[in-house]
Symmetry: D2
């Protein structure tokens, strides 16, 4: 089972559960994996930025990959392998694929500037991990500072057949989805899967623009799955009603640095993990902030019962 | 009438109306000023970043200041005077104050890095514009890349009495408001006005954390005024209900680069300006994007009649 | 007299002399202009970054342009018109050309990232200043963070005939000069003038790679003129001997932020300006640093008598 | 043998030799280690940025540490352990110390902005590697974008006793050395070792300002050792004569990105490594650039016979 250009649905960016003392909480890894699968996830993405991947060492990373893969079985798993250098990227990518992963995700390093540098980076990355490994291109300028035009993405996808998916989290980014789908229609770019990140903040319209689904870690992956399903079914009003109900909380979770604390706090409340701890350096919620999240959940529960559970 | 540390309410970041050929649309300047005043604005902020200030030359900037001031009378007007150098800043600040402005707003240049550089910059800026001119400190790391800790802001406010207001648009930023208000309570910082920007994306909680109101350009300043009023009155549920109704549109407007096109499009629809044109280089809405905004307005109108007008 | 693609020699980046209290020192403006002309300059560049241009307001900038032009007569003068917006850029450019300038220099704003953004920026800038105004494209990634590949520069020069010169200060940058000259030889790019900045730190080899000369503010423009002349005459050893003699001082002057203080200190010692003052915010030399410059001048004087004058 | 605050002399930033196909060239690792030791190095620094550390995976990094340590015996070795996260940093640091390293070097991640963030980062780093491990603080704003004031460095050194050395490569940076030494004299900061990087471009004056030596990778570490010795002996003229003779080449090597290709080319010519290859992504010298280096070596050989060998 490998990742292909027709992937769709929801691939949650999995949180990585820790004990309060910083050790990986393996029981919660299992529980959280089950939670994602039960939420209607069509795939899973582990070792992403919001999975605190850079805080794990090489051994821990591979152990996490194996632990999750032991549980997901038929569900495809994408492993984030972004690294400062290609040797480390290759090692984790090859080991992950051998362990049963379906593909890898690669973000560009912040130092890239020119169009040619970006394309060359992905060419080198594909050479490093091997062109038999399906690659997700992560396009996240807000955090990484690397700006990829639609034309640059087209060059990457045309030059590198193993790049099969775009993790789209440009902001603003709706026109980029339209531009890429227009390339496909006019025959200048082959079909790729587009899953959207950025906390889901524009997922209501991203699906309408042609995105295939979501790849983000919002603490209600079940809502994301419902939304993608409704959008595909053409139930526009129902999709927006559901999205709008969640937007106040979703927006609150979409805070750089702090957002992961919100997410883990809600995941913990939902019973998906035992602790909301982050490994150092992490952010923490003040009592006031926890109260705000509780209040948002309470308000949400009036429109979506899952928030009250 | 000068700006003081007790300023509160809504100071809209005024858009600058242009004709489609790029000339300033003076009639719309008047109409838009009237619109803001009628919306319940307690003040006005002109020549902000979202007012396309950097696109005006020195003569146009001063002409705009005078035009608006001729109309606002009792309502205080803050003029953005951020500039690459202090001489241009001083010239615009002195001329604006002479014309009747109530204060000036100053953003730090993106090159600043260390705490001391930031404090020194505001010291130099105050010296440049004159310490008799009330200053609004603009704290906008997302766009400017300059990160001011609460302690640095305290140093600025303690060292420079003419700095009377914080335009707060850090993100995440709720804890910063709490930290500054705690400084005041513990007596280590004098009282300053805190008005919030960032498109209002967290205004529901910012008011609860101690902000005095909003300084942002969302195309429904009347909603912002209502929200601040409800929050001050302690009507929490009503405040959140109103905010949540607007959040889908407000969020759509909060798109870097594209947001101003959304804002001007809605302002035009509301009759506040004649054209939604931006001076070059500007962003433009695709037909699809305009349709999305229309759809959001339609949905909003079900809960706030002003969106259907 | 307008700037053309065959310009060569040395166009010093003129310092702007100030009184210790921050006023422009007009007498020294005249004296310094005479000094540059007497040093063998084939042109002059005013209002560059190292000319403290951002510290002048609009009125002062134009006054400086007129003052210098009143004195230079047959020598072409390039005016830096970089600005946060096109209206201010246009105003200064048109006024300068009317006053007798030969061309303008435009640096890209630090926010530009993609190839297309850079090309579009210069297209808009040329439209703003008018396509009858010769333009110098400033390529200075170290300071501005904007990286222009040779292919992007070619697009600019091919699309925009009024762009006639490159102020080359990429670092490393030797291969870029070779690449552009190769484009010319293979017929894919028309001829442009290439003058080198970056303090002259690689001018010994830049001239060998095909640069037409220097556009930098090193306090010995007479040395730069000699070097360019020797290089053109094919006197390689003599050129390098002269360059190497100056390199310790030239390198000392090439310190971001501090370099201008060194430059003005030496210009003052050479009698070209009355004060080494910078307008705020400026850097200043410590007593130790002045002693180091004195020592470098003393050592240099053994090989170039001009340093002992 | 551990690193202490009295370390001095030259700790070359060791290049990492590769075969043309990208494998580590272990024979050259040995040969290069011997070369550094024979050059008068008082210590060695491996896995620095210019040692292509980010291109090695975890296993290779540790293997390199062990290989070098097997050869250096009495000479202290500093290991660069900078990493995106603390777990990887800790693993490499502990394993290296166990293998016999004398200390570790840690550079701040480019995302740090405020003074407090920088101090907190080093506090967390020291906690991660263990406070029994001597730490070199790398201060390299040109590349990393993190600006540490003298006061911030003082906070780090006062708060964290295991931080015993500053790798100083701020630019301009002479005043920073003076400021830190003044802190020591006035008793507000304990003594730390200061070794200078930045290619050695200001080493002539850095030693005079109070630096203890060099930690940089210039291909003539023997010259660096002589220079530091002459400076300590107070032979100012001889030190500058030697430095100035090397400056044209040293400056040529100090080109971001390209410099390592120059360095490895010269090291290869000097017989210290078998190939000048870099692991991908690497820079390469054009034939013209190689000719320029040859020419510089030829000119240098007239004043320093080692360049002609």
């Amino acid at each position: 089972m490998t990742l292909g250009p027709d992937a769709s649905g929801v691939y949650p960016i999995a949180a990585t559960p820790f004990h309060p003392d910083g050790r990986i909480d393996w029981d919660s890894v299992d529980r959280l994996t089950d939670f994602y699968l039960a939420s209607g996830a069509t795939g899973l993405t582990i070792l992403g930025i919001m999975g605190e991947a850079p805080k794990l060492d090489a051994g821990e990373s591979l152990a996490l990959v194996r632990r999750v893969l032991a549980r997901t079985r038929a569900t495809p798993v994408v492993v984030g392998v972004s690294a400062p250098g290609f040797a480390a990227m290759r090692t984790l990518a090859r080991d992950s694929m051998e362990a049963g992963a379906s593909g890898v995700m690669i973000a560009p390093p912040p130092s890239l500037r020119t169009d040619d540098q970006i394309v060359a980076y992905y060419r080198n990355a594909v050479e490093a991990v091997g062109d038999d490994v399906p690659v997700v291109v992560q396009d996240y300028p807000l955090l990484l500072g690397v700006v990829m035009t639609p034309a640059v993405l087209r060059r990457i996808f045309q030059d590198l057949p193993s790049c099969v998916m775009l993790k789209h989290e440009d902001w603003p980014g709706l026109e980029k989805i339209s531009a890429l789908r227009a390339f496909e229609r006019e025959g200048t770019m082959r079909r790729v899967s587009i899953l959207c990140g950025n906390g889901g903040l524009f997922l209501d319209f991203e699906t309408e623009r042609g995105a295939d689904g979501a790849m983000t870690g919002y603490a209600f992956p079940d809502m994301l799955a419902d939304l993608v399903r409704l959008a595909k079914a053409g139930e526009r009003e129902a999709a927006h009603d559901l999205f709008d109900a969640h937007l106040p909380l979703l927006r609150y979770e979409q805070q750089q640095g702090l957002g992961l604390a919100v997410r883990k706090y809600v995941l913990q409340k939902r019973g998906a993990i035992a602790f909301d701890a982050q490994r150092k350096p992490g952010s923490a919620l003040s009592a006031t902030a926890r109260g705000e999240v509780d209040y948002l959940l309470e308000r949400l529960a009036r429109r979506d019962a899952r928030a009250g559970a």
